[in-house]
């Protein structure tokens, strides 16, 4: 016991940056429990990515099988649970991505483990700090089950640095694969060259006051000028102006970039829950009473129709003068 099994998402070139945050937490938990970090890679390309992941963890275990080519909680959770047992894990962890949130509680059920979701801090060996009530409070929970499952809020843990020596890589069999009648059908995604919301240094978000999806083009120009990701309020995604996966907030994505632009967003607590960890917040809103101004570092009271094009020109000037 005492080890930490860290489920890591990866691409062909290595761990996703979200997984590096998970590994930072995993190291802290391993130190607290007196064990080591075992990074677990499941799915196609796991063996190929293992070398790059080994720079960050003492051990890397890969599991590949044609039956695991598409992620399904039903097939992945039993593998996580089995390997947690085989590797003497006291803590099983993943980043709170849509995969981590889907997978880890299911694995927890198989392990009879208590589960702390979306944590922001390791407070003590078995104590975790996590935001509750849309980030309006932080709760410290103590979990007393022999194995503990955790999902980690990416924005609260800096990406892990490479270790001095590469970890040992091994592979494990998939075992019997049973999807419990579930099948992956297809993924609808809009390809974008912009950074992931979770990783971006700058995020440009628009709200209901943008009125139409077409109007978001000007925000996209601003985003592209700054290498930013695009975000939105729920009102904008619900109205179909922009894709649902742009939603920032309590029930959307949690972001904490260096710079966050909230344009024509009123600042409901559910929206703030997803972005108030940002370093610098800029709000543009025509209503000077809008609650967003209470948390913004810099506010512009005015219409986006005028403010945003001017902002783009002004930033271009500053960039050109450097």
């Amino acid at each position: 016991m005492g080890n930490v099994l860290a489920f890591c998402e990866f691409t062909s070139s290595g761990p996703k940056s979200s997984a590096l945050s998970n590994l930072t937490f995993a190291r802290q938990a391993a130190a607290a429990h007196g064990g080591e970090v075992i990074a677990l890679l499941i799915g196609p390309g796991a063996a190929a990515a293992a070398g790059a992941v080994a720079a960050f963890a003492a051990k890397v275990v890969t599991v590949e099988d044609p039956g695991l080519d598409n992620y399904l909680a039903e097939t992945y959770a039993p593998i996580v649970a089995r390997l947690a047992g085989e590797h003497g894990a006291s803590v099983v962890t993943a980043t709170a991505t849509s995969v981590g949130k889907d997978l880890i509680p299911r694995a927890a059920a198989l392990l009879d483990a208590g589960c702390a979701s979306d944590i922001s801090k390791l407070a003590a060996k078995n104590q975790f700090v996590r935001p509750i009530l849309a980030g309006n409070a932080y709760s410290t929970v103590e979990i007393s089950s022999p194995v503990i499952c955790v999902t980690v809020r990416q924005s609260e843990f800096a990406p892990a640095e490479a270790l001095g020596a590469a970890g040992a890589v091994s592979s494990a069999p998939a075992g019997a694969i049973d999807a419990a009648g579930a099948t992956f059908d297809h993924l609808e995604s809009q390809k974008s060259d912009r950074p992931d919301l979770g990783d971006a240094k700058v995020v440009v978000s628009g709200g209901r006051g943008m009125k139409t999806g077409e109007n978001f083009k000007v925000l996209e120009q601003l985003a592209d000028l700054l290498g930013a990701a695009m975000g939105a309020s729920r009102a904008a995604t619900d109205a179909g102006m922009v894709p649902a996966d742009w939603q920032v907030g309590q029930t959307g994505k949690i972001v904490a970039p260096n710079l966050y632009f909230a344009v024509a967003i009123s600042g409901a607590i559910q929206h703030l829950a997803g972005m108030k960890g940002s370093k610098t917040i800029v709000a543009i809103n025509k209503d000077k009473e809008a609650p967003i101004f209470q948390i913004a570092d810099y506010g512009i009271v005015g219409e986006w129709e005028k403010a945003v094009p001017e902002l783009i020109e002004e930033i271009k000037k500053v960039k050109a003068s450097r």
């Binding site: 889907d102 509680p105 059920a109 198989l110 009530l133 932080y138 979990i143 619900d238 002004e314």
Partner: protein, 274 residues
């Protein structure tokens, strides 16, 4: 087809959070049905009715269940008022519960009720845990389709095709019955739920329905069973305990800037953000 919807009451999310004696101060809280659970009830209704004709399809039943104190009966009544048929309350103080205990109780209720689908909210907006549905599916060994933004019931009622909101977009996953669904915000959009009975062109109002006066009256007569955890043989005890609560540090007050050139200058020189 029978659908079970577990619902939780939560303090009104629109009200300010207060802390007293190291815990969230809930004196005088205004309790409401967790919004996602309202969406779960609405999803169940849309799956089991002919939206155009209004009436419920034959053989359909919706059972709502909560594990909670006596007051939580009110939230069950609200669900009955919007159209659920029957309610079960398993009596327990909030302090005696954690996700593991709730799941253990739901497992037993499911064994007794044998629903074809269990539809939960994706998260309770007080604890923001987002875990009960997944844990329940794991314990039962059933398939799970979490974060559902759309659902289509197959004509033979043996499977559902679910559009799940994932980080990369929308993932479509098919699960058979019995199975577990947890619902996201957009499940209550006008065309998100299809059941092969309601015409595909039919548009529901955006959002969950309100209870009609008639519905509220009818709800008073609908059956509500009250059980104890021990009636279901649940001996699981909580493994999660809250040991502290803190309010987040307030952000330092910001400033309204006069014009865009000033803003850009401040972003460059003061915040060093561009």
């Amino acid at each position: 087809m029978k659908i079970l919807v577990p619902i939780k009451r939560v303090p009104d999310p629109a009200l300010k959070t207060k802390v007293k004696d190291g815990a969230i101060d809930l004196t005088g809280a205004n309790w409401v049905v967790n919004p996602f659970d309202e969406y779960a009830v609405e999803t169940a209704l849309r799956l089991l009715e002919n939206g155009e004709a209004g009436a419920r399809v034959a053989g359909a039943e919706i059972v709502v269940v909560t594990i909670g104190p006596e007051d939580a009966a009110q939230q069950l009544r609200s669900a009955l008022a919007t159209g659920a048929d029957r309610a079960i309350r398993v009596d327990a103080e909030d302090k005696a519960l954690d996700a593991g205990v709730v799941v253990a109780a739901l497992v037993q209720i499911i064994a007794a009720e044998k629903p074809d689908l269990v539809i939960l909210g994706k998260q309770a907006v007080d604890g923001d845990a987002n875990q009960v549905g997944q844990m329940l599916a794991g314990k039962l060994g059933w398939a799970q389709a979490t974060f559902a933004a759309s659902v289509e019931l197959a004509a033979d009622q043996k499977s559902v095709l679910v559009g799940r909101e994932v980080d990369a977009g929308v993932e479509y996953k098919r699960i058979g019955t019995p199975g577990i669904l947890t619902v996201d915000l957009r499940i209550v959009s006008p065309h998100s739920v299809k059941n092969n009975v309601t015409p595909a062109t039919f548009a529901y109002p955006d959002g969950p329905r309100y209870a009609s006066l008639k519905g509220i009256m009818a709800a008073k007569k609908k059956p509500m069973d009250v059980k104890k955890l021990s009636d279901y043989g649940v001996t699981t005890t909580p493994v999660t305990r809250e040991v502290g609560i803190e309010l987040p540090a307030a952000r330092a007050a910001g400033q309204i800037v006069a014009d865009i050139p000033t803003l850009v200058k401040k972003l460059a020189d003061e915040a060093k953000a561009i």
